[in-house]
Amino acid sequence: MIVARGLERRYGGRRVLAGVDLVVQPDDVVLVTGPNGSGKTTLLRILAGLVAPTRGELELAIDRSRIGFVGHEPLVYRELTALENLDLFGRLYRVPERRERIGMLLERFGLWDVRAVRVSEYSRGMAQRLALCRALLHDPDLLLLDEPHASLDAAGAALLDEELARLARGRALVVATHEPERLSALAPRRLALT
C-alpha cells in the first residue's frame, strides 16, 4: 500500500532524512527505530502527507483519507472538550454514525467519564489517549504512530499495547518507537534509521 524509494528531506541546508526505502503491505507492522534526530518523525510526517520529501518517490496505493496519524502532540484543541473535538474531526472526516463511533472510542480508551472536560485540564496521558481516539475515528487502513508510548504511564502503556495488538488485525501499522521490544508480539519488521 506504500512504496517509498530514496526518501530524503532537507530543512535549509540540513539533511534530516537521507535515502529511506520502505514498502508497507496491508497487515504489515513496521517498527521505525533509531536515535533522536535520525528522522523518524520526518519519515512519518512524509508518509502522512504533512511534509513533502525533498527527493525520492512516494507511491500511495491508499487514499489519504484512509490514513490515521498520531504525532508527538495530540492534535486536538485545548479549549474544547473531548466530545467537541471528536465531533469536529468526525465531521471533517465524514465519519458515518459519528455519535455512536465517538462514544465507543471514548469508552474503549477510558475517557467516557471525562468527555465533557476541556483538554487543557487533561493529563498528558489522557491527551495521548484522546489523540488515539482522534486517529481511529475514521477506522483507517493505515495507522502511523510517532512514539505512542512516550507520555503514557505503565497502565496506559499496557492498555496501548493491547489496543495495538487489536488494531494490527486488518490494517497496517507504522510505529516509530524507542521501545521496539514492547511490540515484538506483533512479529514486526524493523526499519532502523541512522
Binding site: R10, Y11, G12, G13, R15
Partner: protein
Amino acid sequence: MGLAVVLALLVAPEDADQGISQRIFYLHVPVALTAYFCFGLGAWKALRLLSTGEQRYDLESYVAIHQGTIFGSLTLITGSIWAKASWGVWWTWSSNQLVLFLVLFLFYCAYFMLRFSIEDGPRRARSSAVYALFGVALIPVSFLAIRLAEDFIHPTVFTREGPQMTGTMFLAFCVAWVAVTLLAYVLYRVELAGKRLDIALRELREATS
C-alpha cells in the same frame, strides 16, 4: 544603452515648459515600466511554481522580484529628482505613479521579510509565490485606489494635459525603454546564474564532506 543616453540628452528636443529637467523622463518612465515588467515576470514564475511544483521557479520568481524592487527604487529616486526639478519639492503625493511605487516598494520589502523569516524549503517557495501573486493583483487595485483617493486628498491640483511627444522624442523614449529592458534582462540572468552557482557549490561541498 549608450545610444539611449545620447538620444535622450542631445537629440530629443527640449520640452518647452519643463526644459532640461524633462530629460529625466527618458530614464524615469522606462525604469518604471521595467519594474512593472519584472513584478509581472515574478508573479508569472510564481504561478508556474504553484502549478508545477518545480523548485527552480522559486529562484526565478525571487530574482525577478529582486530586480523589480531595484528598478522600483530607481523609479522612486528618478521620480523624486523630477519632482524636485519641476515642482521644487523632493516628494509630492500628487504624482500617482510615485505614490503607487511607494506602496509597491513597501509591499515587496515585506516580500523579502517573508522570505527571510521562513526556513528554506517548499513551504517558503509556495508562500512567497502566493505573496508575489498578491502583488500583481495589488498593482491595478492600488492604482485605482490612488486615483480614487485624489477625490478627497487633493482635488485636482495639477491638470496634466501633457504635450504630445514629437517623433524624435518618441524615438528616444523607445530606445531608452529597450535599453533599460535589456539591462534588466542582463541583470536578471547574471543574478540568477550567481544564485544557481551558489546553490550548486553548497550541494557540492555537502556531498564531499
